[in-house]
Structures are given as structure tokens and as C-alpha cells.
């Protein structure tokens, strides 16, 4: 080993504390990079493999009823590779010892128990057999949640009649990776399941012999999805087609896509913050190291080492830290990736979900760390390369202090001599002071911007569950009913108020922008439902025209006062231009609303009730649920409280893990920055601190010089960090928003306070740790050396 490399190793060992502190910040960059890129890749690969293996369709369509023969016509459309028709039917399940309303969506499979598209992967048991009426396969999540398996049976109310369903298998399909009951906000595997049943059996149960109400198709390579959808829609129009749509509008696919988008956003925001801080840390630490090793550099040059050799020597110091960081960070990233993948396996139903890492991710992570460290080392390297040997070997000129603006301020404030020492040192090293303050500010910003997602979910919860939905139950019907059904519901003992609502599938267009959605309405004097603006205010339904959620308005590029082309999908297929009366800043989904009368003008039918909002006496809940069970028109009951509990369960399940990671990562920055600043400060001021000790200052008084400067920088960092956090949070909130939901930006003072507290504790504890060195300060040795 060359002597210079030996020096490198000893330097690394001697400065191990600082090297490790930098490595931890850099490792956090690597870890978050490996985590998000790795999980993104794993999830994408798993999904793609699953889609390919189980022939996930490209285009989906549903209709009221169409003859099975239509499938051949669809299949003949240019660009369609394969088309398959099926029946989808909601059913109410009856578990005898529970009156919790449970719904199932039953899909048909062919007589051999197969489907060509969206095929079922069996986890257990077998597929339904031809001619066996009541055989079903149930989805794994539902089976697990309800402890069901092959051999068990459930009673189901399908299309108005009761039937006993025998479970013969447990399975999964790529179109239900994520499944959620209509009207629900969160998946509830106990109350909603996906079933597969033999075609003939389901045809018989739903009175749809040789008919279908659902279509899936795959496209040939290069085919235009839009063209195919247009063709499909025109063929299905007479059969009550509600508009074909591609994968991006497919619920399960869209949710998964949303997750991938969030991972992507995370990759773009979090690792760069850590990389930036690491670069700064390498910059200040190496800068200080080169200043202290000035004489050595001069000596080496005098011996004949070239500037480049010395530059490379210091570069190696930075790169060695980066290598350590890559190893640490990759390990941590893999570990967290595995944990996150396991978490995904609970939400998303894959037959297999491997966490796998490709070498390219590690290479990417290593390049990022090496790049950040190298960049940080650059300025120091340059100064080492440029240092002339004769200059280097003479002692550096004494630091020049003068009374600047800060100083005059200090005099005004009547600082003690110690106070002057603190303030002037900060002003003497403005770059490094700024980096310290900025680093701590970034850690605070990062912590705040991640912590505030909890505020966001709470605000969403509040807006969605407490303000917008005041009903205790939402009751859906097997098909739209007239107002009689509301009177029937009112008769149930314990029911306090009933309101009808409905949603009509529509296509909204503005120029060439088109969106499918449900146009929803509520009773004119509704008190159970409300549309709540992001600001918390209630926006009334417009007397005429329609109201769009901000999301939908943005997608269609519409604002209040514009006209929108409304096309009813299915039913009478009414088409008309309507004014956009108002925009509501909602969090969930791309939605559209209209007053009851407006909707009636579009739908023009005699069955205006799609579902009912009901408020009840909580004591009567069980009786009401039993009563609803006996009403064949009732398809499903969504209980607000149950959904709320489920939502909170999801949030709470992860809150501590998430908080741990957020705090650990953000603190890593604060610790790394403060530790390095404190060590540099200590080494720079050791001489002065020893002088103070000699003059009779106690250790605690001397520590103030060190801690005071850091404390001042941290105090400056707090408001900056709050601004950065606010800005980062805003950016991440908008990056995390999708067609499915928009996160509210609602940071609370408590979150600011908590973030500040965590960072203050991390920063001051680290500073105090370094200040302990004051205890071991060897006055005699320090003073013997000329500073």
C-alpha cells in the first residue's frame, strides 16, 4: 500500500465520527432511492407478469344487457385481438350469525371454469364445474377476512332470489388486484368480495340466458385504443352500453398506478434532499480537513507529489465515505423494501409478489452517492491542487475579523465577550454557517413535509366522513327505484331520516377532452349530504347547470361559467350542453353534481332513486340491518362508521412505522449536519476554548461558546425549515394527487411544533455530545501548539 493511501485510511479512522455522520446522510439517500426504485420495479414487474400471465384486458365495457352473439362482432373490430363477454352481478350475502351487510360481485366463467381474459389464478380448491348450479370461487382476501374456504357455503340474494353458494375454490384475478365496493372509500375485505361462478349458473340466476352485461377485450399491438373504444361504444349503444374505457380508468389498475406514481414522486423528492445535504457536508468537512492539512500538502508537494495526486487523495476520502454509504444504504433500502412489499401484499392482491432488486438499481444508487460526494469534494480538491508548496508550508494568515453589520447589532444588543465570539465566528464563516442552518432547515422541512401527510389524511377523513357524509348508512338498490322505496325505508323503526340520491353515468366533453363520470344528485333540501370545499365550506348544488369537482374541472379544462357537453351513457342517452355553474375543491375523485331536477331533465325516467342516505338511531342499528336484509330491493349497505373505522385502521396500522422512518431519516440529516459542524467548530476553536479555560472559565461556560453558535444557527434554521417544509409539502401533495383522489394540503400547527421539537432535540443532543469534548480538553497541550 502506498504511503498516501495509508494516510487516507488513518485519516478516515481518525475522522470516523464525521465520516460516519456524512455516510449516514448519504446512506439515507441511497436507502430511499433503493427503496422507492426497488419497490417501484418490483411492483411494476410483478404487475406486468401477472397481467401477462392472466391476460388482463386492455379495454372494458359494461351494458345493461346484450346478446352473447355481440362478442363476435366486437371481436371483429379492427385492432381487437380477443374479446370476451361475461356477466357481472352484485349479490347480497347472508351470514346467519351476523347482520353486517356483505356484498359480492359475481363474475361469470365459462363452463370449463375458465375465462380467456382476466383469468383466475386458483389458490385453493378448484373452479366451478359445468352444470353445478351453486358453485363459486371466492377471492382470497374475502376468504381470509371471513374465514371461508372450499367446502363452506354462503346464502346469497342474487337478482331477487336466494341461492345457496358452495365455495369450491379460492382465487385471484388481475382485474381485482385492488377491489373496493361501489361508494366505499377504502377496501373492506370483510364486507365486499369478488366471486366467480359458472356462466350457465349465473345466466340462470340473473335471467340472462345467452346474454352478457360486461365485456373485456385485448388489443393488437399498435391498435388505437380510442378508435376501438369508439367502435365498441357504437356497437353497444343499443344495449345500454355505459361507455368502454381503457386500463387507465379501470379501478384496480388506476389504484395500482397511483401507488406507482407516488413511489415515483418519492424518488424524485426525498433522495435529492439527502444528496444535497451530503454534498454540503463533504464540502465543509473536506474544506476544513484541507485547511488543517495545509502544511502536509505543502510538504507532499515539496517532495514531488503532483497536484493531481494530492487532489485524488482527498477525492478518495470523499469516495470512501460514499462507498460506505452505498453499502449501508443499499442494505437498509432492501430491508425497508421487503417490509414495504409485505405491506403492499396486504392491500394489493397478487398471486406472487417478490421483492427483487436488479443490479442497475445498486449501480444507480452508487453513482448518486459517489457523484454527490465527488461534487462536495470538488472545491476542496481544487484548493489543494492549487496550493503552492511554499505558501502551504508557511502558517495560514490569521483570520481577519472586523466589525460588520452583525457586530454592530451585537454591540447594540450589549453582548458579553462570549456573545461577540459566537456572533463574529458565524459571520467569519458565512458559507459554512449557512450550510449548517440550511441543512438543519432541510431536515426540519423533510420531517414536516412527510409528517403532514397524516394531517392530510385526517383532513380528508374529516371532510369526507364528517362533513360531506352525515348519513349513518348508504343503501344501494339492485336497480334504480322510484320514491316509494324511500317511504318503505322510513317505515323501519329507528330510521330518522331518509334521502334519495342517484348517480347517472355520463360522458362530459369539452373540445377533445372527455371524461366518464357519474353525475350525482341529492334532494334539494338535503341535510345528510354536502359538498365540502377544501376550505371546509359547504357549496350548495346549483339550481341549474352542473357542479364539477376541481379535479374533473382541471381534467376537462373547464371553469365556472363555461359550457360542457353532457352525454348520458345508457338509458335514454340524452345529450345536451350545460353550463358549469360552480367548482368544488374536493379531495376524492373526479366527480360531477347536479340538482335533482337537472338530473331528471337528463335521465328522463321514472326511477330517480339510485341509493338512499339514511340517518338512524344508533340503538336500532341491528334491527334496521335485519329489516334491510328482508328487503329484496336492497343490494348493499355501506355503514359510515364501519368505513371510518376501516380507514382509521389503515392509517393507524402504519402510523408508527411511518413516523419511525420519517423521524429517523429527517434526524439523520440534522445529526449529520450538526455533528460535522460541531466537530469542525470544536477543532477550529479548541485553542480559544482552552484559552478560556485557562482564564478561569468553567467547562460549562466554555461549552456555551460551542453550543451557543450551534443553537443560534439552529434557531435561524427553524423558520427557514418551516418555509421549506411548507413548500416541500405543497409540492409533494400535488405530486401525490391523482385522478382517484387529491390530498388536501392542511398542515397543522401541531405538526409544525412536533417537527420542530424532534429536530431541536436531535440537533441539540448531537451538539451536546460534541460539547462533552470540552471536558477532555487538554489545556496545556492545546496552548503549547501555535494556532
Amino acid at each position: 500500500m502506498k504511503a498516501l493511501d495509508r494516510k487516507l485510511l488513518r485519516d478516515l479512522w481518525y475522522m470516523r465520527g464525521q465520516a460516519i455522520a456524512i455516510a449516514l446522510v448519504l446512506a439515507a439517500a441511497t436507502a430511499t432511492f433503493v427503496l422507492s426504485v426497488g419497490v417501484h420495479a418490483s411492483l411494476t414487474d410483478t404487475r406486468d407478469a401477472y397481467y401477462a400471465r392472466n391476460h388482463f384486458a386492455d379495454v372494458f365495457a359494461s351494458m345493461t344487457r346484450a346478446p352473447r352473439a355481440i362478442v363476435a362482432r366486437i371481436g371483429a373490430i379492427e385492432g381487437v385481438q380477443r374479446a370476451e363477454g361475461s356477466i357481472e352481478q352484485y349479490a347480497t350475502l347472508d351470514f346467519p350469525d351476523s347482520n353486517v351487510p356483505v356484498r359480492a360481485l359475481i363474475n361469470s366463467v365459462d363452463e370449463y371454469g375458465h375465462t380467456q381474459l382476466n383469468t383466475v389464478t386458483l389458490r385453493e380448491g378448484r373452479m366451478p364445474q359445468a352444470g353445478e348450479a351453486g358453485e363459486v370461487v371466492v377471492d382470497e382476501a374475502f376468504a381470509t377476512a371471513n374465514e371461508l374456504g372450499p367446502g363452506d357455503s354462503v346464502d346469497a340474494l342474487i337478482y331477487g332470489s336466494y341461492q345457496k353458494l358452495n365455495i369450491v375454490g379460492v382465487g385471484l384475478a388481475p382485474n381485482y388486484i385492488y377491489s373496493i365496493a361501489p361508494g366505499d372509500l377504502v377496501p373492506d375485505n370483510q364486507r365486499f368480495g369478488i366471486f366467480w361462478m359458472g356462466r350457465r349458473a349465473l345466466e340462470a340466476a340473473t335471467d340472462r340466458t345467452e346474454a352478457i352485461n360486461s365485456l373485456a377485450l385485448t388489443l393488437e399491438r399498435g391498435a388505437s385504443e380510442a378508435d376501438v373504444i369508439r367502435e365498441v361504444d357504437s356497437i353497444l349503444e343499443p344495449y345500454g352500453g355505459t361507455g368502454a374505457f381503457g386500463r387507465e380508468d379501470h379501478l384496480s389498475h388506476a389504484f395500482l398506478d397511483n401507488e406507482l406514481m407516488q413511489l415515483d414522486a418519492m424518488t424524485r423528492v426525498i433522495p435529492p434532499v439527502f444528496l444535497l445535504v451530503s454534498t454540503f457536508l463533504v464540502y465543509i468537512v473536506l474544506g476544513r480537513m484541507i485547511r488543517t492539512e495545509r502544511t502536509q500538502i505543502g510538504l507532499l508537494k515539496a517532495f514531488g507529489y503532483s497536484g493531481a495526486q494530492i487532489g485524488v487523495h482527498y477525492l478518495k476520502f470523499a469516495l470512501a465515505i460514499a462507498v460506505l454509504a452505498t453499502i449501508l444504504g443499499s442494505g437498509a433500502g432492501i430491508w425497508m423494501g421487503q417490509a414495504m412489499t409485505r405491506l403492499y401484499a396486504e392491500y394489493y392482491r397478487f398471486p406472487f409478489l417478490y421483492y427483487h432488486m436488479s443490479w442497475t438499481v445498486f449501480i444507480g444508487a452508487a453513482l448518486l452517492s459517489l457523484g454527490a460526494a465527488g461534487l462536495g469534494a470538488y472545491a476542496g480538491m481544487r484548493s489543494a491542487v492549487k496550493l503552492a508548496p511554499a505558501v502551504a508550508m508557511s502558517p495560514p494568515p490569521p483570520p481577519v475579523y472586523r466589525a460588520g453589520a452583525v457586530e454592530r447589532l451585537g454591540s447594540l444588543a450589549g453582548f458579553s465577550a462570549i456573545g461577540h465570539m459566537i456572533v463574529r465566528h458565524i459571520a467569519r464563516w458565512p458559507g459554512r454557517s449557512a450550510i449548517t442552518a440550511f441543512g438543519v432547515a432541510l431536515s426540519l422541512g423533510l420531517l414536516f413535509s412527510t409528517m403532514q401527510f397524516m394531517d392530510a389524511s385526517r383532513t380528508m377523513l374529516d371532510s369526507y366522513f364528517f362533513r360531506a357524509q352525515k348519513q349513518d348508512m348508504t343503501i344501494s338498490f339492485t336497480e334504480p327505484r322510484n320514491a316509494d322505496v324511500l317511504h318503505a325505508l322510513e317505515q323501519l323503526p329507528g330510521v330518522i331520516r331518509v334521502e334519495g340520491t342517484r348517480g347517472v353515468a355520463v360522458k362530459l366533453s369539452n373540445g377533445n377532452r372527455t371524461e366518464r363520470t357519474a353525475l350525482e344528485s341529492a334532494e334539494a333540501d338535503s341535510i345528510l349530504s354536502a359538498r365540502i370545499d377544501a376550505g371546509g365550506g359547504e357549496i350548495p348544488l346549483p339550481i341549474s347547470g352542473i357542479m364539477l369537482s376541481r379535479q374533473l374541472a382541471d381534467q376537462l379544462d373547464l371553469s365556472a361559467g363555461d359550457d360542457v357537453f353532457v352525454e348520458m351513457l345508457g338509458g335514454r342517452r340524452t345529450q345536451m350542453m350545460m353550463p358549469v355553474a360552480s367548482i368544488v375543491d374536493e379531495f376524492v375523485g373526479a366527480r360531477a353534481y347536479a340538482a335533482e331536477a337537472t338530473l331528471e331533465r337528463i335521465a328522463r325516467d321514472a326511477a330517480p332513486v339510485g341509493s338512499a342516505l339514511v340517518s338512524i338511531d344508533p340503538a336500532a342499528r341491528d334491527d334496521i340491518l335485519s329489516g334491510l336484509k328482508d328487503m329484496p330491493v336492497v343490494l348493499g349497505v355501506t355503514e359510515r362508521d364501519a368505513a371510518l373505522i376501516k380507514f382509521e385502521e389503515i392509517v393507524n396500522d402504519n402510523i408508527f412505522t411511518m413516523m419511525f422512518f420519517y423521524i429517523a431519516f429527517a434526524s439523520a440529516i440534522a445529526v449529520g449536519v450538526v455533528y460535522n459542524s460541531a466537530r469542525i467548530l470544536f477543532s477550529e476553536r479548541a485553542h480559544e476554548l482552552a484559552t478560556l479555560r485557562v482564564l478561569g472559565y468553567h467547562r460549562s461556560e466554555v461549552a456555551i461558546v460551542l453550543l451557543g453558535e450551534l443553537a443560534l444557527l439552529v434557531i435561524v434554521a427553524v423558520p427557514i425549515g418551516c418555509v421549506i417544509g411548507y413548500w416541500l409539502a405543497q409540492m409533494m401533495t400535488s405530486m401525490f394527487s391523482s385522478d382517484l383522489f387529491r390530498l388536501p394540503f392542511a398542515p397543522t400547527r401541531a405538526t409544525f411544533g412536533f417537527s420542530i421539537l424532534v429536530i431541536l432535540i436531535a440537533a441539540l443532543a448531537t451538539a451536546a455530545l460534541v460539547a462533552l469534548r470540552v471536558l477532555r480538553l487538554d489545556m496545556v497541550r492545546v496552548l503549547k501548539a501555535r494556532d
Binding site: 485557562v694 482564564l695 472559565y697 468553567h698 496552548l783
Partner: protein, 239 residues
């Protein structure tokens, strides 16, 4: 303590100091007996490594003897805890070093205030600077002062708290003769006006002439004590 009208400031008995660095032991003091009177100017002479600085550091409470006893006005120093030693320095000792050890970020006056801020009955910082002839340079930073001026700031800083003892380790070592004399004059003035005991290490044998006594060090021991019947003025010292 007091005998024949002379009060004893320091009394040391068989002081020993052994430094262990790695596998080698360095005997810096090999049994030093010592009696320093209050108000005396004592010069410590001797080659490098003869134990002068070690003794001065022990007297100043910066270091502790490995063995032996040392008392200041009857108070045994070796028994003091770290914080008590700090308090002892704060109240009694003024230090002056070869390399000044001023705080570069503080002006001359503020450097002196470092001490007056924490002393019990200090003189005014400006007054201390005037005593060393630097009243006009009070607002200058160390980098704006010459070596001699910096050392005089260090002297002002040391005398500002009116210490009982001034410990000077080669105070003129980095100075030319003219500035050196001015520093010595400042020390002498403190001795005369404040009654401060002065212990001064030097390599310059000529300085011994201004002392009441000269302690000659050799190999960690006091080889010889030279009494000076008629100390001379610093200006008369042959440099």
C-alpha cells in the same frame, strides 16, 4: 506562612511529574521544593525540557503533580476538584503565554473583558489597557496589532482581574528587544502597583536581573537559586 513579615504565596514539597506517552515515561519534575513569597518577581531559567513550564502549569492549576504537595496561601492545590481548580485560576491567576493566545474574533478591549466579565473585583478593561500603554488601541482586533501590542493585550488581560499571581511562559520569546522591554515593564508595573507575585519563564538569562530571585532548572529539578539584592529596571536589561 508568614514569617518575618514576608507572606508565603506558594509552598511546594517534593513535587514530581511523570508523563506517560505510549511506552515511555518522561520525568518532567523530579522532586522540586519551592517557596515563593507574595509580591516577589521570580524568574525561572533553564534549558528546554528542564521542567519550568511543567512547574508553572502545576502552579497555575492547569496540570496536577504526580506526587508531592503544593499549597497557595495555605490551601492545598492537589486536593482540589476540577471545578475548584478553575475557580482558583479565575480568582487568583493571570496567565501570559509566548503566543499571546488572544481570541482573534474579539477586540483588545473585549479580550480583556473576557476576564473582567467573570472576575470579582476587576479593574476596568480600558484601564488595564492603559496600564500597558494600549488605551488608544482598545477597539483593534488582534490581527490589526503588532506582536508586542498583542502580548501587551495579553498582559492587560492577565492583570485586569488584579490577580494574586501572574504566570508568564516566555512572554517575550517571540518579541524583539524594544517590545520585549515594554512587556516586561508592564509586568513590573503590575507587580509594583498591585502587589502581584510574578513567575516568569524565559530563555533570556538577562531578564533574571529584574527578578528578586532566579530559579535555575536542570533535569526536572531546581539546580540553583540566585538571590538578587538589587533588581534592575527592564529598560536596563541587556537583551
Amino acid at each position: 506562612m508568614a514569617s518575618g513579615g514576608i507572606e508565603l504565596a506558594f509552598s511546594g514539597k517534593d513535587l514530581r511529574k511523570v508523563y506517560v506517552t505510549g511506552e515511555t515515561e518522561v520525568h518532567a519534575l523530579r522532586g522540586v521544593d519551592l517557596a515563593i513569597n507574595k509580591g516577589e518577581i521570580v524568574v525561572l531559567l533553564g534549558p528546554s525540557g528542564s521542567g519550568k513550564s511543567t512547574l508553572l502549569n502545576i502552579i497555575g492549576g492547569l496540570d496536577r503533580p504526580t506526587a508531592g504537595e503544593l499549597s497557595y496561601h495555605g490551601v492545598e492545590l492537589s486536593g482540589l476538584a476540577e471545578d475548584e481548580l478553575t475557580q482558583y485560576r479565575r480568582e487568583n491567576i493571570g496567565f501570559i503565554f509566548q503566543f499571546y493566545n488572544l481570541i482573534p474574533s474579539l477586540t483588545a478591549e473585549e479580550n480583556v473583558r473576557l476576564v473582567t466579565d467573570i472576575a470579582e473585583h476587576p479593574m476596568d478593561a480600558l484601564e488595564a489597557l492603559r496600564m500597558v500603554g494600549l488605551g488608544e488601541r482598545a477597539q483593534h482586533y488582534p490581527a490589526q496589532l503588532s506582536g508586542g501590542e498583542q502580548q501587551r493585550v495579553a498582559v492587560a488581560r492577565a492583570i485586569a482581574k488584579k490577580p494574586g499571581v501572574l504566570l508568564c511562559d516566555e512572554p517575550t520569546g517571540a518579541l524583539d528587544s524594544v517590545t520585549g522591554v515594554r512587556v516586561l515593564e508592564a509586568l513590573q508595573r503590575a507587580n509594583r502597583e498591585l502587589g502581584t507575585t510574578v513567575l516568569l519563564i524565559t530563555h533570556n538569562a538577562g531578564i533574571g536581573a529584574m527578578a528578586d530571585r532566579v530559579l535555575h532548572f536542570l533535569d526536572g529539578q531546581i539546580a540553583r537559586v540566585e538571590e538578587n539584592e538589587a533588581p534592575i529596571e527592564p529598560a536596563e536589561i541587556g537583551w
